[in-house]
C-alpha cells in the first residue's frame, strides 16, 4: 500500500460478533498489507447493544486520512452512527455504508486493503447486496 488507506469500523450489538467479523474480513483480505479494521460491539458493561463512545473511538483509531467506512448490523447500531454523523463526532470523511454486515465487511476490507478510495470501498460493500444465494 502506498499512502493512507480507508479505515473500516464494524459496529454490532455484540462485541464477539464485531470482533469475529473483523477477524474473518482481515483473514480473507490477507495476502498483502491489510487495511485497519476496528470492532466496536456491545455495551460498556459487556452486554448486547450499542456504545456511541466506543464507535467514535474506533473511527478515530482507524482514520489514516483517507476516510473511514462504517458498517452496522441492526437498529441502534445504525441509528447511533447516523446520530454521531449528524453531530460531527466522527472523522470528517466518515461514512455509514448501506451494506450487509458480514459480506459488506469482507468486500470493504478487501477493497480498502487494495488501496481503493472511500467511494470504491463503499461501492464494493454495497454491491454485496446483489449477490444472491439461491
Amino acid at each position: 500500500m502506498s499512502g493512507p488507506v480507508v479505515g473500516i469500523v464494524l459496529v454490532s450489538h455484540s462485541a464477539r460478533v464485531a470482533e469475529s467479523v473483523a477477524e474473518l474480513a482481515r483473514g480473507l483480505a490477507a495476502g498483502g498489507p491489510v487495511a485497519a479494521v476496528a470492532a466496536a460491539g456491545g455495551t460498556p458493561d459487556g452486554g448486547l447493544g450499542t456504545d456511541a463512545d466506543r464507535i467514535a473511538a474506533a473511527a478515530r483509531e482507524v482514520d489514516a486520512g483517507a476516510g473511514v467506512a462504517l458498517l452496522a448490523d441492526l437498529g441502534s447500531a445504525v441509528l447511533t452512527i447516523k446520530a454521531l454523523l449528524v453531530e460531527d463526532e466522527l472523522p470528517p470523511d466518515a461514512r455509514l455504508l448501506d451494506a450487509p454486515f458480514l459480506e459488506g465487511a469482507v468486500a470493504a476490507v478487501v477493497a480498502a486493503s487494495a488501496g481503493a478510495p472511500l467511494d470504491a470501498v463503499a461501492a464494493a460493500a454495497e454491491e454485496a447486496y446483489t449477490y444472491r444465494k439461491t
Partner: protein
C-alpha cells in the same frame, strides 16, 4: 418565558418518571422487543441527571443539547439516538438565548420531532414513539397538558397497530395487541413537561 432552570426541572422530573415506570416500560418491551427499554432509559436519564449536576449549562438550548448528547452515549439501544436527537435538535433550535418563549419551544420541539422521524425513517402509524410525539406537538399550541394527554392517547392508540420499525417489526402480526414501549416513554417525557410547566 422559560429559563435554563425550567429545562433542568423538566429533565429531572422526566428522570424521576422513567425511574418510577422503568419496570412497566421493560414489561411492555418484553413481548415485542428485547425487554430492555426501561433499564436502558433509566441508565440514560440517570446519566443525564448526573451530567446536568456537574455542568453549568446556562441556557435552555445548552441544557437540552447536553441531555441529548448524554442519552446518545449512554442508553445503548435505539431509544438513545432517537431521544438524543429529539432533545439535541430541540436544543439547537432554541439557540443560546437565556430565556425562550412557549412559542419558540413549540417550534423547536416540532423541529426535534421532525429530526427523529428523519433519523428513524418512521411515520405515524408505524407503532413507534412518533405515534405519541406527533399528536403531542400538534397540541402544544393549546397547552402543555393537552400535549401530554395527546401523547398518552397516542401511546394507547399503538395497541392495535402493526409494527413497521425496529425489533417489533420482525414479529409481523404478532406485534398487534401490545402497546409500544417507545410511545409510552415519549408520553412520560411530555407528561413531565406538563407537570413542570404547571408548577412554574
Amino acid at each position: 418565558m422559560r429559563d435554563a432552570q425550567f429545562f433542568r426541572r423538566w429533565m429531572t422530573v422526566a428522570a424521576a418518571a422513567v425511574e418510577r415506570e422503568a419496570d412497566r416500560l421493560t414489561e411492555l418491551d418484553s413481548p415485542i422487543g428485547d425487554a430492555d427499554h426501561g433499564s436502558n432509559l433509566l441508565r440514560g436519564f440517570t446519566a443525564v441527571r448526573a451530567a446536568l449536576e456537574a455542568d453549568s449549562a446556562a441556557s435552555p438550548g445548552a441544557v437540552l443539547t447536553l441531555a441529548g448528547r448524554t442519552l446518545i452515549s449512554t442508553v445503548g439501544g435505539a431509544s438513545g439516538p432517537l431521544y438524543g436527537t429529539l432533545l439535541r435538535r430541540t436544543g439547537k433550535e432554541l439557540g443560546e438565548a437565556a430565556e425562550v418563549s412557549d412559542d419558540a419551544l413549540r417550534k423547536a420541539l416540532y423541529a426535534g420531532v421532525g429530526a427523529v422521524a428523519q433519523l428513524g425513517g418512521a411515520a405515524p402509524g408505524d407503532k413507534t414513539m412518533l405515534d405519541a410525539l406527533v399528536p403531542a406537538v400538534a397540541e402544544l399550541g393549546t397547552s402543555y397538558r393537552a400535549a401530554a394527554d395527546a401523547a398518552e392517547n397516542g401511546a394507547r392508540a399503538t395497541v392495535p397497530m402493526l409494527a413497521r420499525k425496529g425489533r417489533a417489526s420482525y414479529l409481523g402480526e404478532r406485534s398487534i395487541g401490545h402497546q409500544d414501549p417507545g410511545a409510552t416513554s415519549a408520553a412520560l417525557l411530555l407528561g413531565a413537561l406538563a407537570d413542570v410547566a404547571e408548577a412554574s
